[in-house]
Symmetry: none
Subunit: 226 residues, 2 copies
DNA sequence: TTCAATTGTCACAGTTTTGTAAAAAATGTG
DNA sequence: CACATTTTTTACAAAACTGTGACAATTGAA
């Protein structure tokens, strides 16, 4: 269950948010004071924080900054009365994930929250060992086994598998892979990806020519399934 | 072109809104009666509704609730005479997006409308799963099911469905589809669209020859309904 | 009712995308 | 530097998808 902390002194806004979020099955907490909200966040470690900027006690910018400094690593969405571009930049610089100007549509803010949490839940699980079928991948040791046979895999192959596993069941485009595994700077052809797929299939598939785990989605990408 | 429905019985207010909104290039419709306004909303599917609370025929709260229940998914802004906190909460609870207390500044309301519509256009297409009838479309997984039967769909078919769903209830011209799904550079015949419609109907309609979800509007285009 | 325009339907051909292997380039290692 | 390993490109074959044209059916207007 996702806990969301709302730090907001206008009860109309916080109540409205609470109602909408409860409807979506999130647990909510409300703080109407900056200082208290900050301490609550540290104690509760909510999955997401909605943070007003103008607050009694301690302003939203400071809260955001201090939370990040103290290691809080979950998404923060800042709510602001002014549409000042400068504020937005400051907010994002201080480590906010999103910045929403009032008046906002509550239903759409909820949509954003869902989107952010959905994306996050994908990356969240940091695992060392993953098993599927008769394959075991140990990412920490960089050791892989299929059946009783050792598999030799390069670092890049491990990274691709890790990305696939983190997005298990979803179609992943070649560009997603290039961005996430290769990074934004160096950028080989999309065909490079296909070749890695080929190699991975040879290693992890029992029958590489009719793959069960790395499935092609024509003109879209590939999907990993257990 | 964005259509906005104004459900408001005070002609001074509705006229003023109409003039300001027309100036911003919105199409406007006015209903001065609750019941009629509700029916108009269902029929026209406006991009946004401005909804007074005190209305003859049917009050704003009920209209809001019933619209949401019947699947209307666009923003609703409630207009109210009282600044009652409780009312505001009720409004949001019933699925309104925003709540504005009279007397309000028309320029501010217009600003809010623009903000909501702008944001909406950004996140409108941010859903992964969509269900209607006995069909489930999962866009992230590229999986589709009708009844207990898997459906195989190409990427383009998913894209068309996504566009249809984003414009649910509105007639979409072949050129809209060609522009939005195919893009501005490559440009096949409008007949190509018909062919995709044919294929989609075969896949998602229970009885493809008398379709219930993708409806033809002669010399206009197609409309998707849940 | 008739006629012209629009839409439904189908199969085929052309195009694009993907599978595959092998060679070339880059990288790291002692 | 020479070698082994990894990474990327290239080329061709195979597969999947897309767009088109033809003709039938339907619709809307005169």
């Amino acid at each position: 269950m996702n806990k969301i902390l709302i730090i907001e002194d206008d009860p109309a806004v916080s109540k409205g948010l609470e109602i909408s979020l409860r409807k979506e099955n999130y647990e909510t907490l409300i703080s109407s004071d900056g200082e208290k909200g900050f301490l609550t966040a540290l104690k509760i470690k909510p999955e997401l924080i909605l943070l007003d900027i103008m607050l009694p006690g301690k302003n939203g910018f400071d809260i955001c900054k201090d939370l990040r400094l103290s290691g809080y690593n979950f998404p923060i969405i800042m709510l602001s009365d002014k549409a000042e571009e400068a504020d937005k930049v400051i907010g994002l610089e201080l480590g906010a994930d999103d910045y929403v100007t009032k008046p906002f549509s509550i239903r759409e803010l909820v949509a954003r929250i869902k989107a952010i949490l959905r994306r996050r839940s994908v990356i969240k699980n940091d695992f060392d060992i993953f098993k599927f079928d008769d394959v075991t991948l140990d990412f920490a040791k960089m050791e892989a086994v299929k059946g009783d046979q050792k598999i030799e895999m390069s670092l890049k192959e491990y990274e691709i598998m890790k990305y696939f596993i983190g997005h298990e069941g979803n179609v992943v485009s070649r560009n997603d892979l290039l961005n996430e595994v290769w990074g934004y700077d160096n950028f080989p052809t999309t065909r490079t990806v296909d070749n890695y797929i080929l190699m991975l299939r040879k290693k992890i598939e029992t029958n590489p020519s009719s793959p069960k785990h790395i499935i092609t989605y024509h003109s879209a990408g590939y999907k990993f399934v257990k």
